[in-house]
Symmetry: C2
Subunit: 215 residues, 2 copies
């Protein structure tokens, strides 16, 4: 296909495609004339992955280029590839590691995860996020929300198993990476929207007041 | 307690407490001297609720005041109270209702929810959010993420049942409202963080590649 069709099908403007070509994020097309090149389905897939990294994951062109570079020499397992894509789109937030409250909250989060027996990096950013929420709940006098943590873990595990399987089923490494990136970010929005709808449904249909998580 | 202790225990500064008193968000304390007043536990609970609405829910002082006004004349059931608190903290985003793609995506979201049989308002903001994500996935060529929707629904339902029960168990209307507000917003962050950790755990421990959601 010509660059115009590639632009139309990928939703990426022609000037932006030319920019990605110059920056090496996209491989050149096949020359078919002095000023013309033909592009294939692999260019379309690559452009959609770049869009996912840039627009959905919020990565800079340089950061997207680094993630894409792993595809030139993909890790030996799809699981490792998935981990790299995953890490690339998780936002990292600076924390005050000297604040005793924050350190205590992170210890609490780590203890809980170790009790769960999950195989995870105990220095990763998601644990910091847990610690932030623990502190916020305590300051608001709403620790009771934490009694739902085991329910969150069970629900998240079921969801994650389905999502990881879906990403792995996508096939070649570039497609797996595109699905992990979009699934991580947009799947979170989907799950959040469905959770709000579930609240509404449960609230409308619940008879009486059954026990909460702390019962 | 004096205003200094109220400030310390609630985490709200004295000038801000005085501002809430002037605006009528907080009831006056009991006069115990010419320039002194005593405050009780109900003031502390109320301040924590105001903090939750303002800092966690992102509400303006005026909007928080409107939510608090419902507590003076609470609706006949805790379910209705919960619905009001819930609606107050769900962000509403403007959509282009004339865009045929967006209308088609919203119809798709509605159809899916009707098939689920959930008792929900089909004109609510969470459905608009679903439609937004549907469009984004289609434009990225990642519709396969939608095959996980039934898993999201099942997981969200389990989580929502536990959360709603926990909120109702909080007791009086003001406490229920505080738990709904903080649980809606901070519970979403908790669930999102636990989901990322679950991805890592599943990815590390999954043997082979079991079928995805679309199998």
């Amino acid at each position: 296909m010509r660059i115009a069709e590639l632009s139309h099908r990928s939703g990426v403007s022609i000037p932006t495609i030319k920019y990605y070509l110059r920056e090496g994020l996209l491989a050149p097309g096949e020359r078919i004339g002095r000023n013309q090149a033909a592009y294939g389905e692999e260019h379309l897939h690559r452009l959609r992955l770049i869009r996912a990294l840039r627009e959905v994951g919020g990565l800079s062109v340089a950061a997207a280029g680094q993630v894409l570079a792993t595809l030139a020499d993909p890790p030996p397992t799809l699981h490792e590839l998935m981990g790299q894509a995953h890490q690339a789109v998780i936002p990292t937030v600076a924390h005050d590691h000297h604040d005793p409250d924050w350190r205590a909250a992170r210890e609490q989060a780590r203890d809980w995860l170790q009790q769960l027996g999950w195989q995870i990096d105990l220095d990763g950013p998601a644990i910091d996020e847990l610690a932030d929420v623990f502190i916020a709940l305590r300051r608001l006098g709403q620790e009771r929300v934490l009694t739902c943590l085991p329910t969150y873990a069970a629900g998240a595990l079921t969801v994650a198993q389905a999502e990881v399987s879906t990403a792995l089923a996508a096939g070649d490494p570039a497609q797996v990476m595109a699905t992990v990136v979009t699934g991580t970010v947009l799947g979170e929005r989907l799950l959040a929207a469905v959770r709000l709808l579930a609240h509404e449904h449960v609230s409308a249909t619940m008879a009486g007041a059954p026990p909460g998580c702390d019962a």
